[in-house]
Amino acid sequence: MNDSEVLNKISIGDESALDYLYKKYYRMMTNMVIKNNGSEQEAKDVYQDALVVFWQKAISGNLVLTSKISTYLYSICQNLWRKELERKSRLVSDEKDTPHYSGHEQEEKAKIIHDIINQMGDTCRKILSYHYFDGLSMTDIAEKLGYANTDTAKTKKYKCKQKLYQLVKSKYSERDFLD
């Protein structure tokens, strides 16, 4: 599969293109992190994040690559790893200055949302993910999920969103996260 074939596959939301890239450049990308003081797990994590970033950019169909995918991916990995190293060094100095910091409420809220999405039906999960993360248009989503027309997809999205907000709000109020 060449670069343009990979991009074409991603633009239609074919996740197998992501698998292909993952295997193809695994060593090249993870070695970069490992050679720069990263552990194997960190290297893998950075590479997976980089691919997800790439996916999100490429699926919009607006990504114009002036280099090879591998070069582009490599630079994403470098940026992500640089950020991670900065975060780690900040963390060390923060620990010295402010021994206790709690993002507990935020974490708990994130977990509530995650669990609720996880419990929602496949359709809602897909529609909301494709729309908000992948940035697919409602027409693309209708096509991908086999709906008769865009309006059907829009109605479904609206209902799913409403349901999600409702469920999260009721959980929030249980925990007194809402005033």
């Binding site: 996740e15 698998d19 295997k23 995650h114 992948d134 409403q162 907000y165």
Partner: protein, 302 residues
């Protein structure tokens, strides 16, 4: 429509870019003075971020489940690759055909003269590049081909095979000196036990070999070959449906070359890297070998 619902819809249209420019400006102005609206915006943004994060983790989980082949770097004193081929059950004749273009790399095989029949030798002799003879018939021993070309005359062109030395020699002399190879053969079990002893020496040294030399692995959905493999251009292809369960390739580097094993659905399979055509995967049944492979597998994952 309650106030809460209308805020929800309003914020929803704002976040989904469904507002006109004017509506947008009005909304943003309202935000400054309306804490409820602002709170609703904060809430919806939080949930949408949750959706994004969910999808991000979903894609990462997908990648996490893709098997990445990790080689095991070990030095093992295996027998020559040729012996491996023989013991794996490939007939010597096949072996000859596969290797005839590459004779110089063949191992030295000790030969002894016997009175066995010509037929026995025809298939085998030509594959041997270096012959150690124990016979005093020095002419034929040192240079069988040239000797024959002198003596054969009438009996000559019986066969155009490269084994004509033994053929014509036997035809032109009263007591033919027939060369019969004494080739060590192993049963599958013997071979496996040898592998095991080799595997047991694994902890002695490691080879610092670059990762890039690792063999690439690809799976191909193949209706005809449902559980097969082949090596092609240094790439391993697994034919069949391997997507449903994770598989693992174990590579062992030895002085005599690389050995590959497949671990799939709790079984081990041997992969011979000279198989260029689709070959059925055969399960390794020798318990000791399986145990050794399990140990390697465990060491690798820690």
């Amino acid at each position: 429509m309650s106030k809460g619902q209308s805020y929800e819809q309003l914020v929803g249209s704002y976040l989904d870019n469904e507002m006109s420019e004017k509506q947008r400006m009005d909304f943003e102005n309202q935000l400054q003075s309306n804490p409820d609206l602002s709170k609703e915006l904060g809430f919806q943004q939080e949930v949408i971020n949750g959706v994004k994060n969910f999808r991000r983790l979903e894609l990462k989980a997908r990648l996490e489940n893709i098997p990445i082949y990790t080689p095991v770097y070990q030095t093992i004193a295996f027998k020559a690759v040729a012996v491996v081929a023989i013991t794996a059950g490939i007939g010597f004749g096949t072996y000859y055909l596969l290797n005839r273009g590459n004779e110089s790399t063949l191992p030295k095989v000790e030969l002894a003269y016997t009175d066995s029949t010509l037929a026995e030798t025809e298939e085998v002799v030509p594959a041997i590049p270096q012959i150690q003879t124990t016979d005093t018939h020095s002419d034929t021993a040192t240079s069988p081909d040239s000797e024959i070309s002198k003596t054969e005359s009438g009996t000559a062109q019986k066969s155009k095979k490269r084994d004509k030395s033994s053929t014509t020699a036997s035809a032109s002399t009263a007591k033919p000196n027939v060369v019969t190879p004494r080739v060590e053969t192993f049963t599958d079990d013997e071979f496996e036990s040898e592998e095991i002893s080799a595997l047991k020496t694994q902890s002695t040294e490691t080879i610092a070999e670059p990762l890039s030399e690792a063999v690439e692995v690809a799976t191909i959905k193949d209706k005809k070959n449902k559980f097969h493999y082949k090596f092609y251009e240094n790439k391993l292809y697994l034919l069949g449906t391997f997507d449903d369960m994770p598989y693992e390739i174990i590579e062992i580097n030895s002085k005599s070359g690389k050995k590959f094993f497949l671990y799939y659905k709790e079984n081990f399979y041997r992969l011979l890297n000279d198989q260029v055509k689709p070959t059925p995967l055969e399960r390794i049944e020798n318990d000791s070998l399986v145990n050794e492979l399990k140990i390697i597998q465990m060491n690798k994952s820690h």
